[in-house]
């Protein structure tokens, strides 16, 4: 293809996106669009899979049968999200094995929030309420993103996430309506999860390397700082309703802007965790790699069995 031909295709492509048309797997797309989408969708899929671990940590210890069933179902939903996001990613011409390899080798990233430990039952509430809350704010705009398979996967993901968020809030509400010990547990969880949740919305705009291109492709509709403000404005009144205190002495309603002002985020901590040195980075990665390696013989057996069956069918016909 000549340079001029590529340029023409690119112009047609950009015009389609401008008209809000969906790009489908078989459509022509610039290489950079393909790569950016593989990066983002796989990162998202990996986050779902790694995200199963901190909550999975409490399945065997959930305090009631009702809570146990709800938690199991929630973690299973995350596996489901991982599954259809990996499938969406595979439509861009990369295999699941390659995607896993990128995760296990540390080449691919996942949401840093899952590198924090879940130390009490209240963390199941705080994760649902805050982490899923922040995820929804990040993800709702993606239901309209330009790449068709991703946009469609996100419609379903968002529906389930909003259910998870209500479930998390409801756990917090039970704790806050409970004994002093339970309320203290809820406050402690908010203290530990608040700042990492704000970091989840990504680095400040000035330091976000992908924002500009992603906005153009509608892979992003609002900047990180806008999303963070939206999260804070939405969450502070919910904390008030629960009767627990957001751990930020600088948090204050600003009449003029119509938003909450908030304190400085510890970006050094953010980058430390992103770079692999958070409290549980190693545990999370080890758990994934172990599951994969210990499962090798099972996957090999399934392949070998299917092969044997095919041969039998071929012989019979």
């Amino acid at each position: 293809m000549s340079e001029q031909e590529v340029k023409n295709l690119e112009e047609i492509f950009e015009a389609r996106i401008a008209r809000d048309e969906k790009i489908e797997p078989k459509d022509w797309m610039p290489e950079k669009y393909r790569k950016t989408h593989i990066r983002q969708i796989s990162q998202h899929a990996h986050s779902e899979i790694i995200g199963m671990l901190p909550e999975g940590n409490w399945i065997t210890r959930a305090p009631s049968l009702r809570r146990k069933v709800a938690l199991l179902a929630k973690v299973q939903d995350e596996a489901g999200h991982g599954l259809y996001l990996y499938s969406a990613c595979e439509t861009l011409g990369i295999s699941r094995a390659e995607l896993y390899e990128q995760l296990h080798s540390g080449k691919a990233k996942y949401s840093s929030i899952f590198n924090y430990p879940t130390v009490t039952w209240a963390d199941m509430g705080a994760i649902g309420w805050l982490v899923d809350g922040a995820a929804i704010i990040n993800q709702v705009p993606l239901c309209n993103t330009s790449y068709g398979p991703y946009a469609r996967a996100m419609v379903r993901v968002c529906k389930e996430e909003s259910f998870h968020q209500r479930q998390g809030f409801e756990i917090m509400l039970s704790l806050c309506n409970g004994s002093e010990e339970q309320k203290a547990m809820a406050q402690d969880a908010l203290n530990r999860w608040w700042w990492p949740s704000l970091m989840m919305l990504g680095p400040v705009d000035a330091e976000s390397v992908h924002t500009e291109q992603s906005m153009k492709w509608k892979l992003k509709r609002k900047t990180n700082d806008e999303l963070r403000q939206q999260f804070i404005d939405q969450t502070v009144p919910q904390a008030e309703l629960l009767g627990i205190t957001v751990p930020d002495p600088d948090l204050k309603w600003n009449e003029e802007t119509g938003h909450y002002d908030f304190g400085e985020i510890d970006w050094d901590e953010f980058w430390q965790v992103v770079k692999g040195h958070g409290p549980c980075n190693k545990e999370r990665m080890d758990a994934r790699v172990n599951a994969w390696e210990e499962g090798t013989w099972v996957r090999d057996a399934a392949m070998a069995h299917a092969e044997k069956k095919n041969i039998k069918v071929a012989k019979a016909s």
Partner: protein, 251 residues
Amino acid sequence: MKNENLYNYILGIADNSLILGQRLGELCGHGPNLETDIALTNISLDLFGQTRSYYQYAAQISGGGKTEDDIAFLRMERQYKNVLLVEQPNAHFGFVLGRQFLFDVYHLLLMEKLQSSSDETLVAIAKKTIKEVSYHERFSSDWVKRLGDGTDESNKKMQEAIDGLWPYTDELFQLTEADRIMVSDGIGVDVSKLKKDYLKRVSEILKEATLKIPESKYFQKGGKEGIHSEHMGYLLADLQYMQRSYPNMKW
């Protein structure tokens, strides 16, 4: 308690679902691939769903404001009536699927018969449960075949699991005191009569899986009477942790 035998009979069935559900719950997020992870979580969810139906009924029989959670979390180890088979650890995936298979075949036969109980609530639970258990049995049988007739390594591992779990199968067919009374009242199933069909079905699958049927004539028992393996205490420590650490709270 007026209906103590019925209460004990229900727990004898329900505790198997609780303990096996708990074992499968340990695996969530650690399966060999996403599809099996999701499927095993599904089975765990079904088992906990059944547990709740049974315990809610048992709580009602027991009276005195007892709840499903009191029954699930606040008994001593000696009061759990599950068979030894379901408390066996997740040693490797062969054991997980082998344990599931050896239990599912029994569970399916039990639910078929429980549908003819004279107790309406148990019939209703059995009718709902049998749909779930048919799926479990198909899933675990398919995997036993896959792993048995897969690679040399998987065949060895699956055989190791079946051999290791086999001594716990005979207990499934033993009757407790509560079982005997409930059988004579037309409520309970005589599980000793399920053994023949069980061995037939299990043998068929193992044969298809190119696995050997264990020849051992030595079996273990005790779970139904509350005498469990050393694994059970740790399982319960996890299960009961919150209820024991924070008594009398709502969650």
